[in-house]
């Protein structure tokens, strides 16, 4: 066991974990932040996307110990109190979710995308979403929601 400390959604956190603990398990089980999902657990589906030091990554393919000392942001850290983040509002408005399982990862990937590419066209959005799967196949409205959010951000 080893003590891992990092900043998550602006708060300093720490826990005693095995080195093999994945970041996603640290977030879900130690911190009880269950908005971050485990979908495929093989680094393909993107349901587990969080930001580590400002960059979107798949938290099922990083060890918690690798993120020690980092600043992590999860879906729970996106809204400003009761005010939804523009991406969250756009997903709601444009029906960007059906079952909702992929949504946290989609939104975290989209937030990173819009940081790098503030006004993406549809082709760019689809290319940037290559690491996120929606098994309801609701991609059309997800793309629409991201486009809409980019216009108000």
């Amino acid at each position: 066991m080893t003590v891992v400390a990092m900043q998550v959604n602006g708060k300093q956190v720490s826990a005693d974990v095995e080195p093999r603990t994945l970041l996603v398990h640290f977030i879900r089980e130690n911190l009880q932040l269950t908005g971050t999902h485990v979908g495929c657990d093989t680094s393909q589906c993107g349901a587990c996307v969080v930001h580590v030091d400002g960059k979107a990554v798949k938290s099922c393919t990083i060890l918690a110990v690798q993120a020690a000392g980092a600043k992590v942001r999860t879906i729970e850290g996106l809204a400003d109190g009761d005010r939804l983040h523009p991406l969250q509002a756009a997903f709601k408005e444009h029906h960007g979710l059906q079952c909702g399982f992929c949504t946290p990862g989609m939104i975290m990937t989209a937030a990173d995308m819009l940081r790098r590419i503030p006004k993406p066209d549809e082709t760019a959005i689809r290319h940037e979403l290559e690491g996120n799967f929606c098994r309801c196949t609701g991609y059309h409205n997800i793309v629409k929601a991201i486009k809409a959010a980019s216009e108000v951000m």
Partner: protein, 265 residues
């Protein structure tokens, strides 16, 4: 995943000491392949030695002749580097098509080359451009470095520190990605430079290789048409659920022609 000890050394000297001391250590770069492999219990190192805190292993420098990339530089940094785009646009293009954006934020060039997956993108760039793989103990020419499926010239305790790519006159990379993983079913990197024409193929065979027949044809006549009728031996190509060996062999010609066309455009 099996248990292991985790180390985060601050210097290469500490890394080599750990490599010597640990029973079955593995170096951890971006972890995009290693951690996935460990989760499947296909690898069970006793110790992971994380390179993220070692100074001087990340970053890109470009001079008149070369692009040098630190081994721990993530694919995203190479893909979005203006310096790389200016000197070797095909290299930035290649890096921007590895995996997906989330993988590109973590995966590193050194990790990719050390692993030498037969479908990885970077080995084709190294071989076609005639890169030099720099380690903590020596420099290895790409021609001597890649030894087939997941095999390289690296010794047990050797650590890649950077990769130096000579700047060519022109280059292009074209790949047919596996639509799920984005690994290259076939990727072809074509270079026209001081050392003539070089064509390197990844994804198709049991390791990256050069298509010397294509190189000779292109040296005489640098057009897509010059590649007509030049085929790789299908019986030496890989075969899996995604593509037969004949299909992969055929894709080499298609991707090579597209690369040459892109260089002439």
């Amino acid at each position: 995943m099996y248990q292991f000890e985790y180390h985060r050394p601050k210097s290469l000297d500490e890394v080599t000491a750990l490599l010597a001391r640990c029973e079955n250590p593995k170096i951890l770069a971006g972890g995009m392949t290693l951690l996935a492999t460990m989760k499947q219990r296909l690898a069970a190192p006793s110790d992971l030695i994380d390179l993220q805190d070692i100074a001087g292993m990340t970053g890109i420098s470009v001079d008149a002749k070369n692009v040098a990339i630190g081994a721990m530089t993530p694919h995203h940094d190479v893909a979005t580097s203006r310096d790389v785009a200016g000197a070797i646009p095909a290299l930035a293009f290649l890096a921007g098509r590895i995996g997906d954006p989330l993988v590109r934020h973590r995966g590193t060039i050194g990790g990719s080359i050390a692993n030498n997956d037969p479908s990885a993108d970077y080995p084709s760039a190294c071989l076609a451009l005639g890169a030099t793989i720099v380690t903590n103990v020596r420099e290895i020419a790409a021609d001597d470095y890649f030894r087939g499926m997941f095999e390289t010239a690296l010794k047990e305790n050797e650590i890649i520190t950077r990769i130096i790519f000579p700047i060519p006159q022109r280059a292009a990379y074209q790949k047919f990605p596996n639509p799920a993983s984005r690994y290259a079913m076939v990727g072809v990197f074509v270079v026209k430079g001081a050392n003539g024409v070089r064509v390197a193929v990844t994804g198709a065979g049991p390791g990256v290789f050069r298509m010397t027949a294509m190189e000779a044809a292109l040296a005489k006549n640098f057009t897509s048409a010059a590649l007509e009728g030049i085929a790789a031996p299908a019986e030496e190509m890989l075969q899996d659920m995604h593509a037969s060996s004949e299909y992969r062999a055929a894709l080499i010609g298609v991707m090579a022609k597209r690369a040459v066309a892109a260089m002439l455009a």
